[in-house]
Amino acid sequence: MSNSDNTKQQDSSQAFGLAQGGASRKILFHRHKNCPFSGKNGQKISYLDTRTLSRHVSERGKMTPSRITAVSAKKQRELSRAIKRARFLALMPYVNK
């Protein structure tokens, strides 16, 4: 009696584990985001365009990593240069307290 209960519990826990694995895999394949600056219709990066640049910094004013925003490596370099220029011109803050 107690034995069968145990096995049941194990089964259920295993099933739960599987479900978790499935969920995480789902997130992995969730979506394929494209770089918003690459390609023919890509937006141009300018150090004067604070509206676009501010979309790529956190609330604190730190740059968001490209692994989150899916910006390509080349464009991320361009973007970081633009943000630094905008900061120097006091168009964007270095830190947002």
């Binding site: 300018s46 150090y47 004067l48 365009d49 220029r85 900061r87 011109l89 006091a90 168009l91 803050p93």
Partner: protein, 140 residues
């Protein structure tokens, strides 16, 4: 000859006229080296993202330069000496874009929107007036 973009931040105490004087002075420096400036823009007295030399607002001017390196060196040397220039940024670009910059576009858009709003307000007021007069007629 090379192309450059130049943004200059000026002290807020300057009047609008003084700002344009500075702008012409900077252009004459470039012209003395056979260079030329174009696309002069004045973005207005903007609030800065952080205080610069204890100022929280500053005049922003922007212009394109087509000139040799010597002209740019001299331009930057002169700006370093000037006390009303808080900061400047000169960037070499491959080509000059004749379109107004994003800043200027935003400024122009704001102005037209303001005009539009004023017009709408006037229209609304007129309509309200018309409505009222109708009401009064009906009541009479």
């Amino acid at each position: 000859m090379r192309y450059y973009e130049c943004t200059v931040i000026l002290a807020p105490e300057l009047s609008k006229q003084q700002v344009s004087e500075v702008q012409t002075e900077l252009s004459t420096i470039v012209e003395s080296f056979d260079g030329k400036t174009s696309k002069h823009e004045y973005w207005g007295l903007r609030s800065t993202a952080y205080p610069i030399e204890k100022f929280t607002r500053a005049h922003y001017i922007y212009f394109n330069v087509t000139a040799t390196t010597e002209a740019i060196i001299e331009l930057e040397r002169k700006m370093k000496i000037r006390e009303d220039v808080l900061r400047y940024l000169t960037i070499r670009v491959d080509s000059i874009d004749e379109e107004p910059t994003v800043m200027m576009q935003a400024k122009l858009r704001d102005e037209t929107r303001k005009e539009g709003r004023d017009r709408d307000n006037n229209r609304d007021n007129n309509r309200d007036k018309g409505h009222n007069s109708k009401d009064t007629k009906e009541s009479a």
